[in-house]
Symmetry: C3
Subunit: 345 residues, 3 copies
C-alpha cells in the first residue's frame, strides 16, 4: 500500500505532500528497529535523535516536527500508528462452527457465523449472538446472553444469567458473575447472603485476564459501554461503572462503588464500598478512595487527596526528620530566651 493511500484509512491524519516521495509500505516497526519498507512513528521529542537515523521508509508524526522522510501528519501519532498496526495485524481467529467436543445444554440459541472451540461447555438456555467466538475450555453457565461479535478467550468462566453486550472482548481465565462476598454473623458463624443478582457488561467492554466481576445479592453489577478493564482486577458486587472507564491491573472496587464516565483508575488502586468517583476523575496508582472523588480531578494517596496536595505532603514528609531537629533546637532557644528574660526582670 502506498503511503498516501494508507493515510486515508486513519482518523484525522494526512499524507504530507511536501515530501515528494510516496513509498510502498510493507510493514510497521519502532523507530530503532524499522527497516526499509516499514512505517514508524515519533510520539515524543525524546526520540527525535532516532528520527535522523531510522531505516524506516516513512514516519507518522505530529503537525510541526521537521522531517526529511515521507510522512503522515496528525495531532495524535500514537493513535494513527495503532490504526496502521491494525491494518497489518491478523489477530488469532477460530474457525466458524461448533467443535464436536463442545457441550451445549438444552435450549441454547446460537447465532450465525459463531465459532465454538474444543471442550467449551455451555449451560441451558444460553443465547449467543452472531459472529461470536468462544475459545477452548470456556465454561458458560445457564441463561447467559452474549451479544454479536463478542470474543471470549480460553478458560474463562461466565456464571449464570450474565448479560454480555456486543463487541466485547473477554480474555483468558476471568470469572464474570461469581458470587459477591457478603455475610452476616449468625450465632458465631458467617451466614452467607445469597447472591441472587447478575452481571451486565455494556457493548465494547474489554475484560483482561484473571479478572473477577461479582454479582450482587439483588439487582446487577453494571459495567458501562466502552469500559476497559485490565488483568487481575476485582469488581465487587453491585458496582456501577460509567461508560469508557479505564481500570488498570490489580485494582479492587469494593461492593457498591460507583464510577462516572471516563474515570481512570491506575494500577493497584482500591475503592471503598459505596465510594463515588465522578466523571473524568483520575485516581493515581496504589491510591485508596474511601468515599468520594470530584469530577475531573486527579487524586493520589490513601486516603486519596488532590494530586498537588499529595505531592506537597510527600515532600513535606521527607523533611520531617530534619524538622524535628529544628523544633528541638527552637525549644532550647526559647527556653534560654525565657530564662535570660526572667533573669533580667
Amino acid at each position: 500500500m502506498k503511503l498516501s493511500e494508507l493515510a486515508t484509512f486513519l482518523s484525522d491524519a494526512n499524507f504530507d505532500a511536501s515530501v515528494s516521495d510516496d513509498p510502498e509500505i510493507k510493514g510497521v516497526a519502532p523507530l530503532d528497529s524499522a527497516q526499509s519498507g516499514d512505517i514508524t512513528f515519533l510520539n515524543s521529542d525524546k526520540y527525535l535523535s532516532q528520527l535522523a537515523t531510522t531505516q524506516a521508509s516513512a514516519v507518522i508524526l505530529d503537525l510541526k516536527t521537521a522531517c526529511a522522510l515521507p510522512c503522515i501528519r496528525t495531532k495524535n501519532p500514537r493513535l494513527a500508528f495503532a490504526q496502521v498496526l491494525n491494518l497489518f495485524y491478523q489477530p488469532i481467529k477460530l474457525p466458524v462452527g461448533i467443535h464436536s467436543t463442545a457441550i451445549l445444554g438444552l435450549g441454547v440459541v446460537v447465532g450465525k457465523n459463531v465459532a465454538i472451540a474444543p471442550y467449551v461447555v455451555i449451560g441451558d438456555g444460553v443465547v449467543i449472538g452472531d459472529d461470536v467466538s468462544i475459545f477452548a475450555h470456556t465454561v458458560i453457565y445457564p441463561q447467559v446472553k452474549i451479544g454479536d461479535r463478542t470474543v471470549i478467550h480460553s478458560n474463562s468462566v461466565i456464571r449464570e444469567y450474565t448479560e454480555i453486550g456486543q463487541d466485547c472482548l473477554i480474555y483468558s481465565s476471568s470469572v464474570i458473575g461469581g458470587d459477591g462476598f457478603g455475610f452476616e454473623l449468625d450465632r458465631g458463624s458467617w451466614y452467607k447472603i445469597p447472591q441472587t443478582g447478575y452481571v451486565k457488561l455494556g457493548d465494547r467492554v474489554e475484560i483482561g485476564n484473571l479478572t473477577a466481576i461479582d454479582r450482587p445479592a439483588m439487582g446487577f453489577t453494571d459495567i458501562g459501554a466502552g469500559t476497559k478493564i485490565d488483568n487481575l482486577v476485582q469488581i465487587g458486587h453491585g458496582v456501577k461503572t460509567g461508560n469508557h472507564c479505564m481500570i488498570v491491573s490489580q485494582v479492587g472496587l469494593a461492593g457498591g462503588a460507583v464510577l462516572g464516565d471516563y474515570v481512570v483508575l491506575a494500577g493497584q488502586v482500591g475503592v471503598g464500598d459505596r465510594a463515588v468517583i465522578e466523571n473524568g476523575a483520575i485516581v493515581g496508582a496504589k491510591s485508596g478512595v474511601i468515599s468520594h472523588v470530584e469530577a475531573g480531578t486527579k487524586v493520589m494517596g490513601y486516603p486519596s487527596v488532590p494530586e498537588r496536595e499529595w505531592k506537597r505532603n510527600t515532600i513535606a514528609q521527607s523533611k520531617l526528620p530534619d524538622l524535628i531537629k529544628t523544633i528541638h533546637k527552637l525549644e532550647k532557644q526559647v527556653a534560654e530566651l525565657e530564662s535570660k528574660l526572667n533573669k533580667e526582670v
Copy 2:
C-alpha cells in the same frame, strides 16, 4: 407463604402482630424496587424516607422503628433478609451423576449423590464424600480428600494431597495447594525448596474466584473452619488461620503468617511472613501488618498502627506543609528575639 409463617424460618426474628394484616409473600426486593407481594428490609435510618413510599407488602426491620406496613422485627434485619432471600433463591445445581466425559483415576472413591460435570479430571486415589458437586473443567490432582456436601465451581485446580472439609464452597479458577514460593541461592541461581506439604481446609470454608492457597515445604497450610476468603487472595505456604476469619479480596498473606479466630482482613491488606494477628482483630483496607496485631484491636496503615493513631497521623500529615511555614516563621522570630536581647545586654 404468609408473613407470619415466614418469620418462623428466621433466627431471632418475630412477626409483628401489632399490624393486623398478614400478607402472602411471593418475592424479595430492595426498598426502592419492591412490588406488591414482595418483602423488603430496612437496615439503616439513611433509607427511612423510602419506607414511606415502598410498594412492598411487608418489611423486615429493627425492634424500634415505627412502621405502618406489616413487618417482621429483629435485632439484625440484614441477617433476617438474607435468610428470607435464601428461602426464595434457587442456586445453580448440577444433575447427580458422573458425566461421561469426566476422567477418574485409579482408586477414586465417590460418595452418594455426587454430581461430576463434563470434562472434570480427577487423579488417582481421590476420595469424594456424599452430595459433593464438582462443576465443569475442574482438575483434581491425586490423593485429594473432599468432605460431604462441598461444592467446587468450574476451572478450579486442587493440587495433590489437599484435604477439603465438609460444606465447603470453592468458586471458579482458584488454585488450592500450589507450590509455596521458597528458594535459596546456590552458586548464583535460585534453588527451589521442594514444597512437600499440603493444604487443609476446615469445614464450611469458602474460597472465592481466582484465589491461590499454597502448600508449604513441610507440614500443611491450615484454613480454619468457617473462614471465608474472597477473590484474588494469596495465602502463602504454611499460613494458619483460625476459625471464622474474613479475608477480603486481593489480600496477601506471606508464608507462615498466623491468624486467630474471627480475624477480619479488609481489601488489599498485606501480612508479612510469620506475622501474628490475634483473635478478633481487624486490619483496615490496604494496610500492611509487619509483625503483630493484638486481639480485638483495629489497625490501619503501613506499618499498621491502631486505627485512632492512623487517623490522627493522617490528619497531622495533611497539616505538615503549613507547619513547615510556621516553623520557619518561628525560627525567624526566635533569631530576632535573640538578637534584640543580645543588643540590650
Copy 3:
C-alpha cells in the same frame, strides 16, 4: 542412605566426623516433629532449644554450633536441607504419552518422552521439546515454542507465539502472552492498540499460579533466565527482567518497566511504567517505584526511598501529632517573649 553418603549429594556441605555415629536416614522433618530415622535442620539460634529435645537421628547445621547428634555442617543449612528434601521428595508426574482426549493442531512438533494430559488443547504449529509435561486442561495457542523439560500445570493458557525456555515451571491457571493493556482515545472511545508482540521466557523461569504476563504492541516481553515469579503477579506489556530476579506475590509491573539481574520485589509492590530497577536492588513489600532504583540498594514506601530513610520518616510521622502541640506551645511562648521584650523596650 547413610548420613555420610547423603552429605556427598549436597553442595558445600560435609559430614561431621567428630560424632562417630553414621545413622541410616529414612526421612526429613522439622526439628519439633522429627522422629527416629529423620534428618532435620537448624537454621537460626531461635530454635536452639529444640535441638536438645528433637527426636531426629541427624541434623544439618552451621559450621559453629555445638551438637551432640550426628550432623552435616554447611554455611547454608537451609539450602542443604532443601537438597535433602529433594532426595526424598517425589513430585507429581504425568505418564509419558499423549492422552487420547488431547487435541493437537496442524504441524505440531512433539519431542521425545513428552507427557500430555487429558483435554489439553494445542494450536497449529506449536513446537514442544523433549521431556516436557503438560497437565490437564492447559490451552496452548498456535505457534508457541516450549523448551526441553519444561512443565506446565493444569488450566494455564499460553497465548500465540510465546517462547518458553528449557526447564521452566509454569503453575496452574496462569496466562502467558495475553494482550497488553493499551488504548488511545479516538473521538470519545478507547481505540485498542493492537498487541502484535509476544512473550519470551528464558531458561529455568518459574511462574506461579494465576499470574499474567502480557505481550506488547511490538517486540516482546522478556523474562530473564532463572527468574522466579510468584502467584497473582501482573507483568505488563514490554517489561524486561534480568536473570535470577525474584518477584513475590501480587506484584504489578506496568508496561515497559525494566529490572536488572537479581532484583527482588517483595509482595504487593507496584512498579511504574518504564521505571528502571538496577541489578541486585530490593524493593520492600507494598512499596511503589515510580521511576528508578539504584543497583544494590533497598527501597521502601511510595514513592519509594532508601529503606533507612523510610524507617526514619515512619518514626518521624508517628511523632507528628505531638510535634504539632510542641509547635503551638512554641508559638505561644515566642509571642509572650515578644510582647515582654516590646514592653521592656
